[in-house]
């Protein structure tokens, strides 16, 4: 009896916290994305030959590159925030500001990069 | 039979008293604690100010002084043997709590910090003394947590969210309790040799109250139905400083730290009513003073409230006037930081519920129904006594706010309740376990569930004309307005009639919810039944006592009358009709005399 405890992605995202869920989930996606990318990349370089070229094709696709860049940039910036706050719990008071700062860094950097990659991708 | 559990001792209620009893009983007997709330939700957690003991950590203090203050506070209605017992045990009780890990605030020497509280005095100088040991303004919370934690450590058996519905007695002896598992709606029989009731008070019979929704007098009502009397039910404490309209308590600790009461004209009025201790007079005195100010048109903006002021500049100004100093004799100087640090929860309440900051603004307050002095009569070992000769009911115990030992008499001193919980909770637990060692289990009746089931069924099957919410609102209004701080014959009679009318209407109450899982509607209706039973006893006892004493003050009988009324009231339920009797007050050291602060 009773409803299960599952919290779906959409329910979680609708929780009106201090963007905690968003950064948490994006950090995860970023980490996972990179992990997958790196494995594929190493695999392709290691195997070489036909499969290598095929795999290369996937991640050299410009859309995939934007995704990877998103993963890298977000994960790196958010990871730095987590690292600093974890190693200096005193700074946690400034959590809200830290998240603001994070977005302030991420959005322009990612915007520019996405523009560069996509225009290069579309132009080619 | 399904759902039968067997324990030597069963404790009903997991507040301070119930947990202390459970802890001590479980050391010597197989013990279960059942509670309709998860233990840490008990109302002991709401207690703010402190627990009293003559530790003397700041200045000289003695258990005898504590005793005298308590006797005087009770308006001489408290039983002095029990009071002496409690005050002597107080020091060890508080130290024991500390040894259990309770995080008391500390003095610069690292000892338990103490603060002044209403009615606590140095008997030689008459000045306030620091007797209330405290953990910020959440002492009760810390006691509740600490005791629950110790119970976990000692593997006490808990039945969380089980509501006791009935007491089972066989041949005039205790046989156990009946309870419903709220989460499943199943009825359970808990077969026991000893039962300890620690179900808290019944402040929910009043409109404006500091009490929890759970304060519905379950224990008292259950026992009343089994022919056990209730003692001194007319004595109900109105705490002077509840948040206007909401009734949420602002601890006396605020005045202990130097806060003062200010009327609508901006004057400090307590010196008029209590020249020596002023704002720190005992609660009944302060509540009446506020009420008088309001009645005489000096409430704020003509409304039913006055101000409580803890702004440092006010406090320091009056500290100079009162000659208040620090323990080392230096000038008393309260800072905004100290207010924040010593009264964090109060600041929080004001911000949330009033939208004001007490450091810069005054708090609008009004007296609020707060504490049940009366209750299930017991002796100082927590044994329930059922008549004027103090005959013990075998295997039945009570402790905490639901019990009447009586150490609080006509008026409880602040911080004495928490002390009452730990002292008498402990002894009730010990005695209950001791009794269980010698006694045998009574044979359960064939169907112990029958009666409770019938009661439940009749609630569910009422004609459904009456609404629980309306009935309880009417009850609370009648009781607050007519059996409140000031009482008179006419109003009380009308309240009593009202309660009786409501009791009749209650028979037709509507319960729509037919479910089993967390059927809170049914349980609320059942609780309303208890409130009505208890309210009738309160109104009737109050109407009967023709004098003013402690929390019971009558406009038509403004004086205390020791000749006729220095006695406890006992009320029995005899087949649905209430009967009144009396019991002598035990007086040992202190003869009654006029009570001035």
């Amino acid at each position: 009896m009773g409803l299960k405890r599952d919290v779906s992605l959409s329910v979680g995202l609708r929780y009106k916290g201090p963007s905690g869920y968003l950064t948490y989930i994006l950090h995860r996606i970023g980490g996972l994305g990179m992990a997958i990318f790196i494995s594929v990349h190493i695999l392709s370089a290691f195997l070489g030959g036909k499969t290598g070229v095929y795999l290369n094709g996937i991640y050299e696709n410009w859309a995939f590159q934007i995704f990877i860049f998103f993963c890298v940039l977000f994960h790196a910036i958010n990871g730095l925030r987590i690292t600093i706050l974890d190693l200096f719990p005193k700074l946690l008071e400034h959590q809200t500001e830290a998240i603001w700062l994070e977005w302030a860094e991420f959005i322009p950097l990612f915007g520019v990069a996405a523009y560069v990659i996509s225009s290069a991708g579309l132009g080619a | 039979m399904a759902n039968v559990h067997q324990f030597d001792v069963v404790v009903v209620g997991a507040g301070g008293a119930g947990l202390m009893a459970g802890l001590y009983a479980s050391r010597n007997a197989k013990t279960a604690v059942i509670s309709k709330l998860y233990p840490t939700r008990s109302h002991t957690g709401a207690a703010q100010g402190g627990i009293s003991a003559a530790l003397g950590n700041y200045e000289e203090d003695k258990p005898e002084w504590h005793m005298y203050d308590t006797v005087k506070g009770s308006d001489y209605l408290g039983d002095q043997d029990a009071i002496e017992f409690m005050c002597n045990e107080a020091i060890d009780a508080v130290l024991e709590l500390e040894h259990m890990g309770l995080p008391f605030d500390r003095t610069p020497e690292g000892r338990i910090s103490q603060r002044p509280f209403g009615g606590h005095t140095n008997n030689e100088t008459g000045k306030p003394v620091r007797r209330a040991a405290h953990a910020a303004d959440r002492t009760g919370h810390m006691i509740l947590q600490t005791l629950y934690q110790q119970c976990l450590k000692n593997n006490v058996n808990f039945f969380d969210e089980y509501q006791a519905l009935d007491f089972i007695t066989v041949n005039g002896k205790t046989a156990g309790v009946m309870a419903v598992n709220i989460a499943t709606g199943e009825l359970h029989t808990i077969h026991a040799k000893s039962v300890i009731f620690a179900t808290g008070g019944h402040g929910r019979i009043f409109e404006v109250t500091s009490n929890a929704y759970a304060y519905t007098g379950d224990g008292a009502a259950i026992l009343l139905r089994h022919g056990i009397p209730l003692e001194d039910m007319e004595f109900f404490q109105f705490h002077p400083t509840g948040i206007y309209k909401l009734g949420i308590l602002i601890t006396e600790g605020v005045r202990g730290e130097g806060g003062v009461l200010i009327n609508g004209k901006g004057e400090r009025f307590m010196p008029k009513y209590a020249p020596t201790v002023k704002d720190l007079a005992s609660r009944d005195v302060v509540s009446r003073a506020i009420y008088t100010e309001i009645k005489e048109g000096r409430g704020v903006n003509g409304k039913n409230y006055v101000y409580l002021d803890i702004r440092p500049e006010t406090v320091n100004k009056f500290a100079v006037e009162d000659g208040r100093t620090n323990p080392d004799g230096s000038k008393y100087n309260l800072t905004a930081e100290q207010v924040l640090q010593k009264l964090p929860d109060i600041i929080d309440f004001c911000r949330v519920y009033l939208g004001i900051d007490p450091v810069t603004q005054m708090m609008p307050i009004q007296p609020t129904a707060h504490y049940t002095m009366g209750g299930i009569p017991t002796n100082k070992y927590g044994q329930v006594v059922i008549d004027d000769k103090n005959t013990v009911f075998p295997g039945l115990y009570a402790a905490g706010e639901c019990a009447c030992v009586s150490v609080h008499g006509g008026n409880r001193l602040g911080t004495n309740s928490l002390l009452d919980l730990v002292v008498f909770g402990k002894h009730a637990g010990l005695k209950a376990a001791e009794y269980a060692k010698t006694a045998d289990f009574e044979k359960l009746p064939d169907n112990p569930l029958a009666e409770s089931q019938a009661r439940f069924e009749s609630l569910k099957n009422g004609s459904g004309k009456e609404n629980v919410f309306n009935l309880s609102t009417e009850l609370k209004n009648a009781m607050f307005n007519d059996v409140g701080i000031y009482r008179n014959e006419k109003d009380m009679q009308s309240a009593l009639n009202k309660v009786r009318e409501l009791k009749a209407r209650f028979k037709d109450v509507a319960v729509k919810d037919t479910g089993k899982v967390f059927n809170t509607e049914l349980l609320n209706a059942w609780e309303l039944g208890n409130l009505l039973d208890v309210a009738e006893v309160v109104a009737m006892s109050a109407l009967n006592r023709k004098e003013s004493r402690g929390g019971h003050s009558r406009e038509d009988f403004p004086e205390r009358d020791d000749k006729n009324w220095l006695k406890h009231t006992l009320v029995w339920n005899k087949d649905g009709k209430l009967e009144i009797g009396y019991k002598a007050v035990t007086i040992t050291k202190y003869q009654p005399k006029a009570r001035v602060y």
Binding site: M1, G2, L3, K4, R5, V7, G12, Y15, K16, G17, G20, Y21, Y24, I25, D86, L87, P89, L92, E93 | L37, Y38, T40, R41, H43, A46, E98, M100, G101, P103, F104, D105, R106, E109, G110, R111, A136, R138, H141, Q145, T146, Q149, K153, A212, Y213, A214, I248, P344, D348, F349, V352, Y353, V468, F469, A510, K512, G515, V517, F518, T520, E521
Partner: protein
Amino acid sequence: MEITVKIFRYNPETDTRGNYVTYKIEGDENDRVLDVLEYIKGMRDGTLAFRRSCAHGVCGSDAMRINGRNMLACKTLVRDVGANITVEPILGLRIVNDLIVDMEPFFDNYKKMLPYFINESPLPEDGRERLQTVEDRARFDETTKCILCACCTTSCPSYWANGEYYGPAAIVTAHRFIFDSRDEAADERLQILAETDGVARCHTAYNCTEACPREIKVTKAIGEVKMAMMTGKV
């Protein structure tokens, strides 16, 4: 003023999933959300189920999601949340009836923290209190305020993902004892928290701190526990 309240309803005996029911009532902006719920239960639909007791934010009974955020219904006024109110049960625990969730897993995690004072050394010879400086007492003051309402744990993304995680409330309890200079079992608790479902599960999401009605800086407390693990200083 008119208040529109949308409440999550789930009747375990007839429903397979929850649904929302909207009530319109007259109320005051100074009413607590709890008062609003009481009124609806009293006058509109008695079957509405929720827990409550103290009505002023000290017992921890009535944690729920109000307008999408964990709060205590008794500590939230209509004026703080506006006249359109959505009330839902807290997340990450099994819903058993309307706004009531099964709290057992939450308390089980609490109980794993050795949530009691441990000091087996002899008491002071004079039988008096164990001494503690004002600073030592202040060290863990904040975490003693916890009322186990579960607002924090049920707002934690990590707990949503994984119910095995002990959760912030349990760590707050552990913090209260680890940093109590009188307690002697800091090491045992740190070792419990060093396990897979302990503090490593906290990803500094901060929802917990934001949700705590007692204004405990939960993430900071967790951070202090993490640092105690690294440095060994308690």
